[in-house]
């Protein structure tokens, strides 16, 4: 590899497994950060069951909900856009499902489709506004955040007279897939071998969703289009990429993913509320940035976002397992974000400067 003449053009490196290859991958920073945080909280939280199956489920369940939203938000960021309307689409997803099934007696699956459809329509509006007006998406989605939040309360009160809806058990299949606790263990009941314990359905949805998104971003040609759009929009359009349609599709995806999270919460807790989840806006952005996505667009990986979400989940929930003062929680998250951004910058430089024929 030191002699460039002996390398086959284009086919060198890449496939092989070496330390150098790991470090030239920009998501290496996110993975390394995750390991450090896991070891740190594992050490300080071991007495308080942080490493048990139940303890792990605590932060995995939390991470899964942010994670489902973080991936499409990350896609948008790679494409050079933002979506902060997700905070209002989570409750919107939940209350549409609740009202359609409870108030109008609609089948749970039809209610789910209706909820996804409405979310998709809101995402479409976001996308149209951004691509047509060229107003920055931060402002457009800030506006739709409040518009949808207002609609949530208004429509809720007009139709049901309340902002708190109950969601009855709609059957074992929908409970199982959308909102239930799952445990997998072998052996005797008094000394079981636990694979996982009390993981929510959303965790499995997240994993499946992440695998699909990984395929789209890294294996299918579409991923190339998304990155090209964020890297240089003009060149991407000149290369024949339908930038507007792709952007609208991404806004629809993030809106629908948010609604799905709202629905899993509603089915799990048997209640849906109109409360806007402002926290989730920041949480999803933190996961994406910790995951190594470039804030200015043009680069990011699904693996990175998943690691970023896991890291965030541990830091957010992990402090409860340690003897540290719980009030330091937010400070930890701020520090995490800062360190992650600085680390990503270093790893990105290493990746850019990497060459198989370094002299």
């Amino acid at each position: 590899m030191t002699d460039s003449k002996t390398t086959v053009p284009g086919a060198s490196a890449g496939g092989g497994f070496s330390l150098q290859n790991i470090f030239r991958r920009p998501e290496a920073g996110a993975a390394a950060g995750f390991l450090i945080i896991l070891i740190f909280f594992g050490y300080f939280g071991v007495q308080n069951n942080f490493l048990t199956a139940l303890g792990t489920s605590t932060w995995l369940n939390f991470a899964s909900k942010v994670g489902i939203i973080a991936i499409p938000v990350g896609f948008l960021m790679i494409a050079g856009e933002m979506d902060i309307s997700v905070g209002a689409l989570i409750p919107a997803g939940g209350i549409v499902l609740a009202m359609a099934s409870e108030l109008y007696g609609l089948n749970i699956w039809l209610s789910l489709l209706l909820s996804l459809g409405i979310a998709g329509a809101i995402g479409y509006v976001n996308g149209m506004l951004v691509t047509r007006t060229r107003v920055p998406s931060l402002i457009v989605t800030l506006a739709t955040l409040f518009v949808v939040a207002g609609l949530n309360i208004f429509v809720s009160k007009k139709l049901a007279g309340t902002t708190q809806h109950s969601v009855q058990d709609a059957g074992p299949v929908s409970e199982f897939l959308l909102g239930d606790y799952h445990t997998l263990q072998f052996g005797a009941d008094d000394a079981p071998f636990i694979i996982f314990q009390s993981l929510q359905s959303s965790f499995f949805i997240w994993i499946v969703f992440a695998i699909i998104c990984f395929f789209v971003l890294h294996l299918s040609p579409w991923g190339n289009w998304i990155a090209a759009m964020g890297g240089d929009q003009q060149s991407a359009r000149n290369a024949g990429i339908p930038t507007n349609r792709l952007k609208i599709a991404l806004f629809m995806l993030s809106a629908m993913a948010s609604a799905l999270v709202g629905m899993t919460e509603a089915v799990l807790a048997n209640t849906a509320s109109t409360t806007t989840q402002f926290g989730m806006i920041f949480n999803s952005i933190i996961c994406v940035v910790v995951g190594g996505v470039l804030l200015t667009g043009g680069f990011g990986t699904v693996t990175g976002i998943v690691f970023g979400t896991l890291t965030f989940g541990i830091v957010f929930q992990g402090i409860n397992f340690t003897t540290f003062d719980k009030d330091l929680n937010l400070l930890f998250i701020g520090a995490l974000l800062l360190i992650a951004v600085l680390m990503n910058e270093t790893f990105r430089k290493m990746a850019t400067n990497w060459s198989s024929s370094k002299k």
Binding site: S4, T7, P9, G10, A11, S12, A13, G14, P26, F215, L219, S220, P221, G223, N224, W225, A227, A228, G231, D232, Q234, S235, A236, R237, N238, A239, G240, I241, L294, G298, F299, R348, A351, T352, N353, W354, S355, S356, S357
Partner: protein
Amino acid sequence: MSANAPILALRNVNKSFGPIDVLHDINLEVRAGEVLCLLGDNGAGKSTLIRILSGVHQPTTGAIEMDGGQVSFPNPRAAADKGIATVHQFGGTFPLMSIGRSFFVGVEPTKGWGPFKVYDRKKANAIAVKAVQDFGITRIDDGDRLVGGLSGGERQSLAIARAVHFGARVLILDEPTAALGVKQAAHVLRIVNEAKRRGLAVIFITHQVMHAMAVGDHFAVLIRGAVAADFKKGEKSREQITDLMAGGETMADLEKSIDGYMSTHGGHPPPPAH
């Protein structure tokens, strides 16, 4: 169609933006295997002319002809489909993409079936690296390298190789050497020569007369939106071209006035005007 007919020609092209006339009666021709150098100072209308040729703007009046027939480019895509490729100053490539991926952006090679079509990384890398190496850039040997790690000259070369690979017949180079050092610029000029040798028509936009004279066969000087001079290689000297670009005020006169000032002021140059 004779071999010597122009591939691309502008006939009496005018362009105005509202009340402002930017281009007046532009007549230009470029033939296969020929480099047309478009010279002009900042604001002379070079950028507008490129945008008309690449389909970003449409002429207000006048016609664009390709292979002798009249054509119109309603958008950049239409121009690209007819084989007109524009390479901008920074290569128009994507810094955090691999060479293979940015080479094939929008037309990715795939393998597999139906919805499970996947991007064929090996094939893309091999083709991209070969295309660039064919242009003499042997330092690029790994298609997984990120474009951001390439030098400015290498990025230009990658963009030119990409255009040629995808069947460009007319190559428009918008100040490819403006941001480059001497060595890198020489690199790009060699590639311009290679493109010409392969029978492409090249429109080379620059305000560096040296670079233009190194590769040009045909020169057009734009001043305030009009073609002020149109001549062939060897018809004018470097000083004459520079004087033309400066818009009549000759460099020699300028030098003389500065020299005169310095001789009466003890060798000091004149103070800045502002």
